[in-house]
Symmetry: C2
Subunit: 333 residues, 2 copies
């Protein structure tokens, strides 16, 4: 049975049946021309959209449906986390290949709804369409809305020279996990890297915590890699940065995998996307607000560098001196 | 020059350069991990998402870039109109074929931004990704947010037996226009039908007016055709309906075109999508609130039928009696 055996209304019903009751602040949810919600009092709204496209962001040969759904929403939750926002609602827009098995559709929806439920995020509505071609690419486009107090919103701008750079969790794991899956061309036994690629945990609690205690002067997420994030945070703040390669929290299993394949572990971890960790700039005096042992929401926090007056963004490699920090994943050019 | 000659940042800059300054209620617009907006006081928010997919919803052979952008946003504005909501902001998510000419990208963006400006809708953010395949389909996914007073939100539910059914403007024009373009396989000289297909005017003012004077008990838009809309409005209200074929405001040029091709004009106009007119149910006593000569926002309003206790949804065809009303466009099955 494929999605084209059902009507649009039947497919929508399969989504609705997996949702908790709509909250009181959502008088109209899925099923009308649009959703209707009551804004949260004394809060700003934080909005983001992200697309996961088959053949660009994932391969169905080795990404199970639940992971596809999870990753699509995780990318969005990570954007909210980077703004210090609390998740509130999302809208789902799918372009479905005609031959997509109904079980896969259900799996994708469950991947989304399970992660949404863990973050008390409500599905407010969406759109379903066919994907053209034979088979057409599966496209999952998710819009999220979160809330934040006015003075607690984190942006990319705001880093000053002397601010210290911190990263949550570990890096390189998702890139190594993707490499392992690509090499196998099929699902593989899970390990830290594969699990990170398939089911990344957006750092929502950490983003909220750092926003609430106002420790960070700037933040962004690592969807396109640490290198890209440092470059963008520096550019937005009008500063440079020096990242110390020796302090980078590279996932040990990833390091081993990169080395086995003759790749430089630091370069690979810095360039690798999909980790969905957060990068923060923190005024030196406010570092203690991050708390000891610098562990929140299950994520470690590691100091990896410092912002500088000089505009260059550099990687300090021990005795080998400084070199430009690689820039991360480029989508177009 | 194609979109793949530019970086993501350069493409985003091409969008930003076409936007008016961000309003005071949008402290963070395009360019960060997410947009930040201040909700409007004493208003509910109305959210919707809609996708326009190449090969499903449009053909680049005969749809100029400006029309692609216009249609993508118009579909969303029409959803807001059907809820009686005032447009506020939108988020744009594009999947772009690698070989898309940069001029076409600009044209699509201009089609969106021109229509958004006419409805004082602000672009708050978005996402750009490549579309896979050679060439991959162009996908334009737009999320819109509007606002409405609590007691003025229009939904599909609410029609009662005896309510009269009204439709704005004319029907069948877009379906005939699409037929003309398909037949030519290339751009054709514009006429009422072609113009309606390429540049439909969402009935935002009419939706707002009917919501504000509380004339309508239910509303929805005709994106999937009048037949589909009547069926859905009846189902949501738990009523049936009788539509009088002789009263249907079929666009004259469309009628001529359907007849020329041996198609039944009523069936074609009822089944044809893309008109983006509105369907209202109105309590008989409140019909006068619609005003005389029942013309608002440039759109005529025509009474086309009535809601019934009997659950059937019928088309009354003069002396030939009643038959089931065709159900409109089916996306999946």
């Amino acid at each position: 049975m494929t999605v084209s055996d059902l009507s649009e209304r039947e497919l929508i019903a399969r989504i609705s049946s997996r949702l908790p009751p709509a909250p009181a602040w959502m008088p109209v949810g899925i099923g009308d021309d649009a959703a209707v919600v009551e804004p949260e009092r004394n809060r700003l709204e934080v909005l983001s959209v992200d697309a996961l496209v088959e053949g660009v962001h994932f391969d169905r040969a080795f990404t199970p449906p639940g992971a596809i759904g999870h990753r699509a929403l995780a990318a969005n939750l990570s954007d909210l986390a980077a703004m210090g926002a609390a998740p509130r609602l999302c809208l789902l827009s799918f372009a479905l290949p005609q031959q997509l098995p109904l079980a896969d559709f259900d799996g994708i929806v469950e991947g989304i709804t399970a992660l949404a439920a863990r973050h008390t995020m409500h599905v407010a509505g969406g759109n379903l369409t066919l994907s053209p071609g034979s088979p057409g690419p599966l496209v999952i486009d998710i819009t999220v809305v979160g809330t934040a107090k006015r003075r607690q919103v984190l942006t990319r701008a705001g880093a000053r020279p002397g601010d210290e750079l911190y990263v949550t969790g570990s890096i390189g794991a998702a890139a190594a996990g993707l490499g392992m899956l690509k090499e196998a061309g099929a699902p593989v036994e899970s390990n830290a890297c594969v699990a990170r690629y398939l089911f990344p945990e957006p750092r929502v609690r950490m983003g909220l915590l750092v926003a609430r205690n106002r420790a960070a002067s700037a933040a962004m997420d690592l969807s396109d890699g640490l290198g890209d994030a440092v470059h963008q945070l520096a550019r937005a703040g009008g500063v440079g940065a020096v990242v110390d390669a020796e302090t980078l929290p590279i996932e040990p299993e990833a390091k081993a995998w990169f080395s086995k394949h003759g790749d430089d572990a630091v370069n690979s971890a810095v360039a690798g996307g999909d980790d969905y960790e957060l990068l923060f700039a923190v005024r030196p005096k406010l570092g203690r607000r991050l708390g000891e042992p610098r562990r929140h929401g299950g994520a470690a926090l590691t100091r990896i560098g410092v912002c500088t007056i000089e505009p260059e963004v550099l990687l300090k490699c021990g005795d080998a001196g400084h070199r430009p920090l690689p820039g991360g994943y480029q989508h177009f050019r």
